[in-house]
């Protein structure tokens, strides 16, 4: 699993590299773009996602002690928090972005000398959040699978490898977001 996460890191790596590299050449445009993002939703989502991971990790320590019922409760909590994240991100934030014509295209909203850079920023924004969202959905399926297996009493203090492996993945998805969050919302807002 650690190996798989190494693969994932190198998958997201080029995205971040390209993002920072492009920002370096188009700083003002990226700043202009960042100022159109929704800081509040982004921040709430960060809290939601990190909490979700925390809850799941607590679940892992419960099963280490052999408490399968608490594990299920924690997983359900983590699962629901993940769902809240997806809803806020794609149901609310993306909808706002589309309404304000921030999706890169001919009717892109931000004009002026830095319009091009802002356009580039939003290419990264949509691609980055979409790929992260896909990983979230996979994560939800995996957590659901853990709930399903835990309900069939398959895990115990002696065997919980799948639980920890899914936990690794779920935390990894968090960490990707921890990088995305400042790239999207924070850097550039001060300018």
């Amino acid at each position: 699993m650690w190996l798989f996460l190494a693969t994932e890191m190198l998958f997201f790596g080029p995205l971040f590299l390209a993002w920072i590299y492009s920002r370096h050449w188009n700083q003002q445009g990226f700043d202009a773009g960042a100022q159109h993002t929704e800081l509040i939703i982004g921040t709430v989502n960060t809290v939601v996602l990190v909490t979700s991971s925390l809850v799941y990790t607590v679940g892992v320590s419960f099963i280490e002690a052999g408490d399968s019922r608490r594990l299920i409760q924690c997983c359900v909590g983590a699962w629901l928090l993940g769902l809240v994240f997806l809803w806020l991100k794609f149901g609310v934030e993306w909808r706002h972005d589309f309404e304000r014509h921030l999706f890169p295209g001919s009717d892109f909203a931000i004009d002026g000398p830095h319009g091009d850079g802002a356009l580039l920023f939003f290419v990264f924004y949509f691609l980055g959040t979409a790929v992260h969202g896909l990983h979230m959905i996979v994560g939800l399926i995996l957590v659901g699978w853990i709930i399903f297996r835990a309900r069939r009493k398959e895990f115990s203090a002696g065997f919980y490898t799948p639980v920890s492996v899914v936990g690794l993945y779920w935390s990894f998805v968090d960490m990707v977001w921890i990088v995305l969050y400042p790239l999207i919302y924070l850097i550039g807002r001060g300018a």
Binding site: L3, F4, A6, T7, E8, M9, L10, F11, F12, G13, P14, L15, L17, A18, Y21, S22, W25, N26, G29, P104, G105, D116, G117, L119, L120, V123, F124, L127, V131
Partner: protein, 543 residues
């Protein structure tokens, strides 16, 4: 020696006869059957890529081009590149020979994740279907490197379908790589320490590390490319502040390590065959092992040498040039060690050995010409010419394809339980060697004289060399069709093979040919060092 040869009479019990329905093949999780599924599909793609190559050479017989349209020609060399790189060279040895032999060499029942192994084959087939779709729908004209902005803004071909194909094929590679690494870590037979592993395992280990770490970079790069192609806005578009050079950096960060994905398994195959047919232990085992690992590491640090003339800074080019020279050191170590292995051994010239000798010669030439293009000043003259084409074909085709055929002949008795006709094997090896040199040596001269690659016509003074090259290609084609014919023939009429027809060491030769589904009746225990061949005192005198 005779003590480890198993009972060979139990053919009824082999993996080939364990279930004969189509379903038992398509849903199998047996690594040996998956290897055969891969063998079939890879042969198909080798054939498609080969036909494209034949048409390219056909076109270049006349200076004005035999095929009327330059557009068609562009699509041909793109198909050739894409299919050969992603659907033949990268998977070829790992997924066919590797899949079959790795668990046997480890003394294991199967790979660590048999289902993942099957999934990787289905991903490969899915990717292949996407590639075939883009081919039938009209093809792509961008070259296998997909440089922007040609790819994103100007190309009229089916770029997205091809990208999807490569994207999926990448996941198939990653799955295989993960499976090999984990199997080698966890499934070694009792007594098989890391330094008792055959070099083939070491080189597949190095290959898998590259696959796992480099392929995802390509995946993200292609995703960015597809986004730009679909929405006409993207990160490689200079009009809005993007950078096309960024694409080249990311692409070569994957694609140069991928070159070593193609050649490292070949090194592994040759390191098995040379000791077996010299009847002598591998010279300098640890050097060969660590040269594989160091090639894998250095491979990540040399991508910039594809971009010397693309407008990168002089200082970065200098560093990349020096790093590229460093690859030559471990490669040369290997060549010298193979020669050292043969020295003083009793060498037999069976077909696998002939292919292996061809490999050593052609790879050496390909590697040495690599130094020409790694040198900054020479590269400015030679880049984008036929010199580069000849260079990488010597490594990839002369090297890798020879190694693939060497391995295929070497393990053929183990895979099928039949012996191929030896005389035809030798004839095939010689024809391929001669045809290959006639095809590609003239291209060194053409490139040196300045003929650029990827044009469908050329000035008349280059005609003689081009005709020679095309003539060589027909000989090469015969050389490749020959094994297809006699290996297929041997499936039905070949002599039955014993457990160890070559008197080779290695756990795979301790079980029956073909092996039973569970590979070994009793888990083997390893006590001897690898390559425990009779002629050892000679080596000890030299060390």
């Amino acid at each position: 020696m005779s003590a480890i040869v198993a009972d060979t009479t139990k053919h009824a019990n082999s993996y080939l006869t364990d279930g004969t329905t189509i379903r038992s093949w398509l849903l199998t999780t047996d690594h040996k059957r998956i290897a055969l599924l891969y063998l079939g599909s890879i042969t198909l793609f080798f054939f498609i890529g080969g036909v494209a190559a034949a048409l390219i050479r056909y076109n270049l017989i006349a200076p004005q081009g035999m095929i009327s349209s330059a557009e068609t020609y562009n699509r041909l060399f793109t198909v050739h590149g894409v299919v050969m790189v992603w659907f033949f060279l990268i998977p070829a040895v790992p997924v066919t020979l590797g899949n079959f032999v790795v668990p046997l060499m480890l003394g294991a029942r199967d790979l660590a994740f048999p289902k993942l192994n099957l999934i990787s084959w289905y991903l490969y087939i899915l990717a292949g279907a996407a590639a075939l779709y883009s081919l039938i729908a009209g093809g792509v004209d961008t070259g296998w490197t997909f440089y922007t902005p040609l790819t994103t803004a100007y190309s009229k071909g089916h770029v997205v379908a091809t990208i999807v194909a490569i994207f999926i094929a990448g996941f198939s590679s990653i799955a295989t790589g993960l499976n090999f690494i984990i199997s080698i870590h966890t499934l070694r037979a009792p007594g098989m320490t890391w330094y008792k592993m055959p070099v083939f395992l070491w080189s597949l280990y190095a290959t898998s590390v590259i696959l796992v770490l480099a392929t995802p970079v390509l995946a993200m790069t292609l995703l960015l490319l597809a986004f730009e192609r679909i929405f006409h806005i993207g990160v490689f578009d200079p009009a809005i502040g993007g950078d096309p050079l960024l694409f080249q950096h990311l692409f070569w960060f994957y694609s140069h390590p991928a070159v070593y994905v193609m050649i490292l398994p070949g090194f592994g195959v040759i390191s098995e065959i040379v000791p077996a047919f010299s009847n002598k232990g591998l010279f300098g085992y640890r050097f060969v092992v660590w040269s594989s690992i160091s090639i894998a590491v250095i491979s990540f640090l040399v991508w910039g040498h594809h971009m010397f003339v693309a407008g990168t800074s002089l200082y970065s080019a200098l560093v990349f040039s020096i790093l590229s020279f460093m690859v030559a050191v471990p490669s040369a170590i290997k060549v010298f060690n193979w020669i050292g292995t043969m020295h003083g051994g009793s060498v037999r010239f069976d077909a696998p050995m002939l292919y292996a000798l061809g490999f050593i010669g052609l790879f050496t030439l390909g590697g040495l010409t690599g130094l020409f293009v790694a040198a900054l000043a020479a590269d400015v003259h030679l880049t984008q010419t036929y010199f580069v084409v000849a260079h990488f074909h010597y490594v990839m085709v002369g090297g890798m394809v020879s190694a693939y055929f060497a391995g295929l002949h070497f393990w053929w008795p183990k895979i099928t339980g039949r012996i191929y006709p030896e005389i035809w094997g030798r004839v095939g090896a010689v024809i391929i060697f001669l045809g290959f040199n006639l095809t590609f040596f003239p291209q060194f001269l053409l490139g040196y004289l300045g003929m650029p690659r990827r044009y469908h016509s050329y000035p008349p003074e280059f005609e003689v060399l081009n005709v020679l090259s095309s003539a060589g290609a027909t000989i090469l084609a015969v050389g490749y069709l020959l094994p297809l014919a006699y290996l297929t023939w041997s499936l039905f009429y070949g002599k039955r093979a014993g457990a160890n027809p070559w008197n080779a060491t290695g756990l795979e030769w301790r079980t029956a040919s073909p092996p039973p589904t569970e590979n070994f009746e009793v888990t083997p225990v390893v006590t001897a060092p690898p390559y425990d061949y009779p002629v050892r005192e000679v080596e000890q005198r030299h060390v």
